[in-house]
Amino acid sequence: MNWLPLWLACGLLTFAIRLSFIALEGRYRPPSWFVRWLPFVPIAALTALTVPELLLVAGKLDLGAENPRFWAGLVAIAVAARWRNTLLTIASGFAVLALLRLVPA
């Protein structure tokens, strides 16, 4: 297997995607709808990355007692909304996860 050219091709493509708008800034004006969509990128991207981790077990929706990550995530969301503290949020999520693993379902 000739891995180096393949790695380089994948790396260059990834780099080009990440550089795209940074390099174009000032030289190209994106359409106005795109500009109005952009402020939602942090929220939409991070939520889309996170929610499947909480709700899906092996690709299937699971909101039962068998899925401790769902309950731990719910508590973490509540803690984040109330206290806005990163370490407290992470600690509360792990605490619920550990508790649910101790208790036999």
């Binding site: 393949l6 942090p42 991207a45 991070l46 929610v51 949020t89």
Partner: protein, 228 residues
């Protein structure tokens, strides 16, 4: 704030994520070796491609003997959402010299973007924005290199599943929940999250990209009073 303080701010914001990224990197190393990739090649993929889930897929495709063009296309599809991060930070990096733009583009991952973005949004015109992003990007890069190296050296021994990877979604929750301060943002979050679950079965994480787009559209629709 000094450049060094901004850099450390970025590093600190990313540190909790390393708890989840480290086991992920170790497992990547093990999976790459099991796919028949030589140890040096497995390790170098982490700096040449530097993209977590795309590296897993690339290793598996190579192991399955998939054609190179398919592998490159799949990696491109998985990483397509990074173009949105690029557009999101582009105005803040506009005045930087080209070498800074190249460096920050190389380091622009989900994790680095997530760690830096609350600070960047708080002060979009900060002259030190690039140092914050560099701090987050560098911390993730260094952690990822060490974790994949550990996986390659450990070889066939998979680390015990302690559930540490859960640190990543938990940190994302800690970042995203305080950002939801309007009805439009709440709608963007619910749409993106719901769509990500519904579309999770689509190949090459295209469902993830489409879910982000749906969230963006829904948020803009709400804030524009019914105009997309």
């Amino acid at each position: 704030m000094s450049p060094a303080a901004a850099f450390l701010l970025g590093v600190r914001a990313l540190l909790p994520m390393l708890l989840g990224v480290a086991p992920f990197g170790v497992i990547y190393g093990v999976v790459a070796l099991q796919s028949g990739i030589p140890p040096l090649a497995a390790f170098l993929m982490s700096s040449l491609v530097f993209a977590g889930s795309a590296q897993f897929l690339l290793a598996q495709l190579v192991g399955a003997g998939a054609p190179a063009l398919l592998a490159v296309g799949a990696v491109g599809l998985i990483n397509l959402r990074h173009a949105l991060y690029s557009a999101s930070v582009a105005p803040m990096l506009h005045a930087l010299p080209r070498r800074w733009k190249l460096l920050l583009a190389y380091l622009l991952t989900d994790e680095a973007y997530a760690a830096a973005i609350p600070h960047l949004l708080r002060e979009p015109r900060s002259p030190l924005a690039h140092w914050i992003l560099f701090g987050s990007g560098f911390a993730l890069w260094a952690g990822w290199q060490l974790a994949t190296l550990a996986g390659v050296l450990l070889g066939a021994q998979l680390p015990a599943d302690l559930g540490l990877d859960f640190a990543l979604p938990l940190t994302f929750i800690a970042i995203v929940v305080p950002l939801i301060d309007s009805r439009a943002r709440l709608v963007a979050a619910l749409t993106a999250g719901g769509a990500a679950v519904l579309l999770a079965g689509l190949p090459y994480k295209t469902g993830l990209f489409l879910a982000v787009l749906a969230g963006l559209g829904a948020g803009a629709f709400m804030s524009g009073r019914g105009r997309l």
